[in-house]
Symmetry: C2
Subunit: 302 residues, 2 copies
């Protein structure tokens, strides 16, 4: 397998990133972030979620954000919908894609959404059906595909099981997420290979956390399997609740730097991307959590 010549990044910063922020981020700031991301060349952006504001108050402004974004043709705007009620709310805002989710870890599923993996899939089935009937694409986020904070290592068979269940209810493509960042190159490849039992290469994306500093090595390992879709987060937005002080999502800037250096086309302007990361980081009162952004900003400063 040769490494793909083109890669598509899905920036999850506005949703997966900002949902972990302690301080509230106004809708206008989120909208501006989305605008800056699309101006930088991002073709897919995970914008918000339609979860009960009781659980995720940070996303209570989902309608305002989705309505405020000036959409650009060629860009896919996705939103997280945990249930039919959330999907119905989302439908009013016409997302291009909805995201449902499942865990490869039974213990994580129980702790996180209070039901078994199989039950979670059953609950999502009508959501997926409704989305497809409405002509909306459906992506499945598979969490804990390498390790789980409760169970430890997750066997590839568990990933294949989850991927099979998602395929069974009509989910069109899936993310292989290393939610706690414990993955290393082979383990990540095994999780991807397990997913490929049910999904075509074009329908599998990698979502790696940089908690242990492994995300770029894992991205390279995934590229070597031909994976060409990845989820990343501008400025590394999004901490990992299971390792305080540690980083969560890999920074989009770091991934773009690597891909550009390898001559792989992403369609992204790294300078404008860095500016988008600085914009949101300034608002949050910190520096971008990206080594490439830090180095390039230092270079700019001279």
């Amino acid at each position: 397998m040769t490494i793909p010549s083109q890669v598509r990044l899905i920036d999850v910063g506005p949703r997966d990133g900002l949902q972990n922020e302690k301080s509230p981020v106004p809708a206008e700031v989120k909208i501006e972030l989305v605008h800056r991301l699309q101006a930088a060349g991002l073709q897919e952006i995970e914008v918000t979620s339609y979860v009960s504001p009781k659980w995720v108050p940070q996303m209570a402004d989902n309608h305002a954000v989705m309505q405020g974004v000036q959409r650009q043709s060629g860009v896919r705007y996705s939103v997280l919908t945990p249930n039919l009620k959330g999907f119905e709310a989302a439908l009013l805002d016409k997302p291009d894609e909805i995201v449902v989710f499942g865990s490869a870890s039974e213990a994580f599923s129980q702790k996180n959404i209070n039901c078994s993996i199989a039950e979670s899939i059953e609950r999502f089935a009508p959501v997926v059906e409704a989305a497809l009937a409405a002509g909306i694409a459906v992506r499945g986020a598979m969490s804990c595909t390498v390790g789980c904070p409760y169970e430890g290592e997750i066997a590839p068979e568990r990933v294949a099981y989850l991927a099979g269940l998602l395929k069974g209810i009509g989910v069109q493509r899936v993310d292989v997420a290393d939610t706690i960042g414990v993955g290393t190159p082979y383990k990540v490849q095994w999780a991807i290979e397990a997913t490929l039992q049910h999904y075509a290469l074009d329908d599998v994306s990698g979502h790696f956390h940089d908690t242990y500093g492994q995300a770029l090595a894992n991205t390279l390992a995934a590229l070597e399997l031909g994976v060409w879709n990845f989820q990343t987060s501008v400025a590394g937005l999004g901490g990992c609740p299971y390792a305080k002080g540690a980083t969560g999502n890999v920074a989009t800037e770091d991934v773009v730097y690597m891909l550009q250096g390898m001559g792989i086309d992403t369609g992204i302007d790294l300078d404008r991307l860095i500016d988008a990361g600085v914009f949101i980081s300034d608002f949050l009162g910190r520096k971008p959590n990206s080594r490439a952004a830090t180095a390039l900003l230092n270079k700019r400063a001279g």
Copy 2:
């Protein structure tokens, strides 16, 4: 080429790491660091340098450090010697290996040591000759093999040229260093392949800086060429003078975490290594600059 099943790490923290520290580190602390590194299983440690204290005051205690280390059999202790005077001073302390250096960038050579690449090699020739005559091994550190802060990208031909010159004066093995951390997987592989024109695989080590967050991906790319020797720095000691605030040497802990996760034997106990990193970081009044150490320390703390 299959990925090696065994990797040897050369911890450069005590020398390359600490020489960039603003505040002086007492010899006793350096000695304790070396002891902790060898106790953690490091088989090669770059201990100090014999450079004029006018230029590098941090290494003025070279004799005290080398004399104070209780050597362990099976561990190689190396020291940097920039000239014959330095070598003669080093000789009294019986290092297992001396390190000479050269830059793949003509501009960097001029700015850093005030002479051309060819002239620097001529100056090193008698040092190498004397070391080999004394039964001391010789390693050559090749800097700027991917990029240079003055020249930008460095062509692989320049790396091959430098490697050939070092081979010509009897240097037994070489480090392929990405001194400013701008390298990405293919570029690093090209620099290594250029080096392999003159050196056998067993005599080539990778030395990657994490300034742009690329070091582990580059390590993986080097492993894929069969490289099994790497220079790393405990706790990520050693900043990069050309990008203030950014990181320099990749943290030994991050590399060990990846290799262990891949089932590659390093002989290193990660917990004890993390303790060594905490020891020196505590002394320096900061946290280890290692994502794996940070995550594992958070996990320990519960």
